[in-house]
Symmetry: C2
Subunit: 309 residues, 2 copies
């Protein structure tokens, strides 16, 4: 059965730097090519945490070295990261398809996602981006106006606002390519965040959660399966605790109850479960799957992963 799939890649599918990225995109592309080979139509979305941080820091460093070098707004950094990642990923995926005898176009769209300028997220930045810093470095950066938070015991990182996605501006182009059987890479890094002012779209200092943006896109292009990839095979209740319980299926009712009860880690599994529930509840027949990339194929066949909806 051929499905219309939106596949949201996690950061670990892309690697942290350019050398890692070139290796990571190969195994990622092979797994995606397997799905295309099985006859599925695939739209690919991806995160950009390490990449957008690296880009922002590069321009910051350059502005300190050269008077005429600009500090780039976050929205522009996201646009650059879409080119940076998309170029490698479209190349690797096209190659993986050609290696299977499939000559299907693969292309990356520079994609904007609309957010509400009154979204409360703008008052409370929470989304970590870029490199890890020591407490001392972080304190110095806070003194200069940056928002910094400690990230799961791994060090301090910059944080930016993460507002809710309202619309995917380029949805008609994504739909055109999707319906024509072309593979499109879109909503990179959750999309370039923009707010609407009449006919004008203005870049916002934010990073949209890529899983929430992917769920919104999947709705808009009438996908029937949203696959949210992560580092574990299934969603668990009481993750890494003695009473941990893997979930094969998660109904919308149970999912909403677990969220209300505080299950699933903020900035990690929680937005994935929220995104899966959002898509699965948007129309009858729509489902989401949360699993790791290497299990995606079995997951689609109902053999593993957590099926939501």
């Amino acid at each position: 059965m051929s499905k219309r799939i939106v596949l949201a890649l996690g950061g670990n599918a892309l690697g942290a730097d350019l050398a890692e990225q070139m290796v990571a995109v190969q195994s990622t592309s092979n797994a995606i090519a397997d799905l295309v080979e099985q006859g599925h139509h695939v739209v690919i979305t991806h995160g950009n945490g390490p990449q957008v941080g690296m880009i922002q820091m590069a321009f910051e460093a350059a502005s300190m070295t050269y008077a005429h070098s600009p500090v780039l707004p976050m929205s522009v950094c996201v646009a650059l990261s879409q080119g940076y990642i998309g170029y490698d990923l479209q190349n690797a995926l096209h190659e993986a398809l050609l290696n299977r005898g499939i000559d299907k176009p693969v292309a990356t769209l520079i994609t904007q996602v609309e957010v509400d300028e009154n979204d409360p997220a703008f008052a409370d930045p929470t989304k970590p981006i870029g490199s890890f810093f020591s407490k001392e470095e972080a304190d110095a950066m806070v003194a200069k106006g940056a928002h910094m938070k400690e990230d799961a015991g791994r060090g301090w990182r910059r944080v930016v606002a993460s507002p809710q996605p309202i619309d995917v501006i380029e949805k008609k182009t994504v739909r055109l390519m999707f319906d024509a059987g072309q593979v499109v890479i879109t909503v990179g890094g959750g999309g370039i965040p923009v707010t609407r002012h009449g006919h004008h779209l203005k870049g916002a200092s934010a990073v949209v959660d890529k899983d929430l943006a992917s769920a919104k896109l999947a709705e808009m292009i009438d996908a029937d399966l949203l696959i949210i990839l992560t580092a574990v095979e299934k969603v668990a209740l009481n993750f890494r605790k003695p009473n941990q319980q893997w979930l094969d299926r998660l109904s919308i009712e149970d999912g909403e109850r677990y969220l209300a009860e505080g299950h699933f880690a903020e900035g990690s599994m929680r937005p994935k479960v929220e995104s899966a529930l959002s898509f699965a509840s948007s129309k009858p027949g729509r489902q989401a799957l949360i699993t790791m990339l290497s299990k995606a194929r079995e997951g689609i066949e109902g053999k593993t992963g957590t099926v939501v909806g």
Copy 2:
């Protein structure tokens, strides 16, 4: 008469830095929106000279500041510049169309252009990119391995190889959007230069001339008019000399003769005339137009510009 147009924007249509770019893309977008309003189908291509140089220098500066910050290959810099320019341009153009009551999708494709790894251009870099430097700065950069050339009395600039375009990798996606009446921004900066090795495409240290790449694309997507924009209204023989002669029409035979006689400045009007001739001679009925953006509309009506073919 509705035409299928590939419109190649010059660097001056985009501005040199982010602030200039945001202003420049507005007037550029209004002129393009006029053509769409008249019923023409438009694919937009553009240069990236100042932008790709700025991006390359930013990462160079960052790599000197942070040990883990990468120096980006030219091909990756071009990919970033496509995101950087495309984001602003697609936004401004969509807004200009909405202001005319036209709700037509506008999107940017990350686009690769194949070149031959044995192209003689790789042995003799000629294409200037990025900022201007003094003779002393240039000498220091040459000592570190950069190729530098003096640029028309304006100072010294880096130069990279400029090989001939052979293929536009994402041509089927451009064609899909073009045929569906969507506006596509593609082949930014002449496209990301890649060489083919079996199924693998490898980034090349080069910048493809954006007018030559646009001519190749126009052929491949079966356009009927290639508009090459520049700072002057028409092509001239003996440009800025006492015997200067503006050209209203340029036949393929005359164009080839003038090129052979050494008319038209290298790196300036010469590649534009070559691109125009290349497209106009590729199939009966195809024409090119060389003019300035503000005259494009009149040029299409045959009232000004230099019509080639």
